[in-house]
């Protein structure tokens, strides 16, 4: 029984980070209609950038700040240079998937050339455990959970109250209408892509002390974030949240009972089962 609760706690912690990353993927799909194949590589990019800044001898707060700023700039650059030129074409959604797939392989191999094929890791943020009603909770996990929930909460508030956030929602709902009322579409696209890059990379920093950084480690994350967004409904931020926690707990339970190799099978089984009944995902709408 205690073991079960431990497993569920670990599932919820992982779920919170997955949720943060899935929200980024879902946002960029919902707003700009780009399915970003390079999302996993941007997750890895966060880890490697943080690793590089640690190499310069900075402490955690400065490293995180510098990494997030560089990720934001990288996101803006990627959107501006390789995605915006495609938008003129009719079949650009397919081209955008192909171009981000190429970018993903390019980045992964770049990491391998620059940092070598061996795993890198970040120092542990907080060590120690917390005793709570007989359960051992690692402070690291608690902090990860707290940060992920804070980032998501802050992001939701931003989307609903800030001018730019509302502009993003408007573009997601009706692109033509948003343009008529004078919302600069291109700037919103660029900003959304940059923010989703930051969310992916931040996930990379948070999970790096636990799961290490490898050049091709992003693919696992991409598939997971993808399954979560699909289960929650593409473009639905709320759906991604529920789906992430659900799948995080399923992952922990399956990994505990049957072993790690069956996690992806279980996820795909849950996803396929849901999609057969509800092709648009739990909270999705066609659009």
């Amino acid at each position: 029984m205690y073991e079960l609760i431990d497993v569920i706690i670990s599932g919820v912690t992982n779920g919170s980070v997955y949720a943060m990353m899935a929200v980024g993927l879902s946002l960029v799909y919902g707003v700009t209609k780009v399915f970003n194949f390079a999302y996993g590589s941007l997750y890895t990019l966060g880890g490697y950038l943080a690793f590089t800044f640690f190499g310069c001898g900075f402490g955690y707060p400065l490293v995180i700040l510098l990494t997030l700023v560089s990720l934001y700039l990288a996101g803006l650059l990627i959107e501006r240079v390789i995605i915006r030129p495609l938008r003129r074409r009719e079949d650009w959604e397919m081209l955008a998937m192909m171009v981000t797939l190429g970018l993903a392989i390019f980045l992964d191999n770049l990491y391998q050339v620059v940092y070598g094929p061996y795993v890198k890791s970040l120092p542990i943020m907080f060590s120690g455990n917390l005793q709570l009603a007989g359960f051992m909770l690692s402070i690291q996990d608690l902090v990860i959970f707290g940060i992920a929930v804070l980032v998501m909460g802050g992001f939701m508030i931003f989307l609903n109250t800030h001018r730019l956030g509302m502009a993003i929602e408007a573009v997601a709902q009706d692109m033509t209408g948003a343009q008529i009322v004078g919302i600069p579409k291109d700037r919103v696209f660029g900003f959304t892509f940059a923010i989703s890059t930051v969310l992916a990379g931040f996930g990379g920093i948070l999970l790096a002390p636990k799961y290490f950084i490898t050049p091709f480690g992003g693919w696992d994350i991409l598939v997971k974030a993808w399954v979560i967004t699909a289960l929650g409904g593409m473009g639905s931020v709320r759906g991604s949240l529920y789906a992430a926690f659900l799948l995080g707990i399923i992952e922990a339970l399956i990994g505990w009972q049957f072993g790690l190799t069956w996690i992806l099978f279980a996820w795909f089984a849950v996803l396929l089962g849901t999609l057969i009944v509800r092709p648009q995902g739990l909270f999705g709408t066609w659009g």
Binding site: D91, M94, M97, L103, F106, I276
Partner: protein
């Protein structure tokens, strides 16, 4: 089979005419012949992927999975039932085609990125499945793979890896059949229906085109063709493991499509030849090879999204071949101009 001799078909037949004669000059070069055979194999995979992605607008990632399923089925069937590889290949195609139908069924209700996810999931799950106990029970050899696959034979003559010519002409024959099938489909009512669904699905439906049926058909046909050539690959290479399910091959196939141009039929074939040669040429570069390929995909998609097909045989304006012909036969040009007006 009656076929209209269009520009596409002429280009395809010209390519095969050249390929028919190429071994006269290079048949002693085992390495080059091997690359040529691989070119022929990948051209079929690329063309079927183009049929489903470029012509039907279904973004699927399952092509390599079907290729591997065809390869494994043919290898296992010829092994366990002592079948001839000539029978194993079509059986491999049938198994791949049935799997394609099975994958296609849930995909048909889904849209864009969802289809990509489900087919990619098939690709991702296939390797652990082939390595698992279930796969081993079927005869996949687990993580080691299948190490001894029967070579092909013809009237008692058994093909060997030291003599590439029989392999080459068999590959030429099978790939031509598959490509002609792709061509025939593109230029049939089915092909029209596929394109109609891609360009305007609601309108196509309102004209009475059954989107469900045609999408299922295109899933089945493309995986069938891919499975056949996968079977040939298994018997040609002689060993099979789950390594071909890696990301590298995936990206190289994507390069083939991007070089060739999506939905420009013989384009994917030319793209397959170019990408296979480029991949071999870059092999000494080690890690940098995939770096270059990744960058190449990005550059090509951004700057040349129509692919090489647009340069070689543009749809609207006369291409270089046509321009040369007009320069050589100016009289005919005048005649065709007066016909137009």
């Amino acid at each position: 089979m009656i076929m209209k001799l269009t520009k596409d078909l002429k280009v395809l037949l010209l390519i095969y005419l050249i390929l028919l004669l190429v071994p006269i000059f290079v048949h002693t070069d085992l390495y080059l012949m091997n690359i040529l055979i691989m070119c022929l194999i990948w051209s079929v995979v690329a063309a079927s992927w183009d049929l489903i992605m470029g012509f039907s607008g279904i973004f699927t990632f399952g092509q390599i999975a079907f290729f591997v399923i065809g390869a494994y089925s043919s290898a296992i069937l010829t092994q366990t039932f002592d079948l001839s590889p000539w029978l194993g290949m079509p059986f491999g195609g049938v198994v791949a085609g049935l799997t394609g139908l099975l994958v296609g069924l849930p995909c048909l209700r889904l849209k864009g990125a969802y289809v990509a996810l489900v087919t990619f999931a098939v690709h991702m799950i296939l390797a652990p499945l082939l390595k698992s106990d279930l796969g081993r029970a079927l005869g996949t050899g687990g993580s080691q793979g299948i190490l001894t696959i029967k070579p092909m034979h013809f009237w008692g003559y058994s093909f060997s890896s030291m003599e590439p010519l029989p392999w080459f002409y068999t590959a030429l024959f099978i790939s031509l059949l598959c490509l002609l099938a792709v061509y025939r489909i593109i230029h049939s009512n089915w092909g029209l229906a596929f394109t109609a669904i891609r360009d305007a699905e609601p309108f196509a439906k309102s004209l009475g085109i059954n989107g469900f049926k045609y999408k299922l058909v295109v899933f089945g046909i493309t995986s069938f063709l891919t499975g056949i050539i996968g079977g040939f690959y298994a018997h040609y290479v002689g060993v099979l493991s789950t390594r071909i399910l890696g990301l590298n091959l995936f990206l190289i196939l994507m390069v083939m499509l991007v070089i060739g141009g999506l939905g420009r039929f013989p384009g994917a074939v030319i793209g397959a030849y170019l990408a296979t040669f480029l991949s071999e040429w870059l092999r000494p570069m080690g890690n940098y090879r995939m770096l270059i390929f990744g960058g190449l995909v990005v550059l090509l998609v951004v700057y040349m999204p129509q692919g090489i097909a647009e340069i070689l045989f543009p749809q609207d304006k006369p291409g270089p071949l046509e321009r040369i012909r007009r320069r050589v036969f100016p009289k005919e040009r005048r005649a065709s101009l007066s016909n137009d007006s």
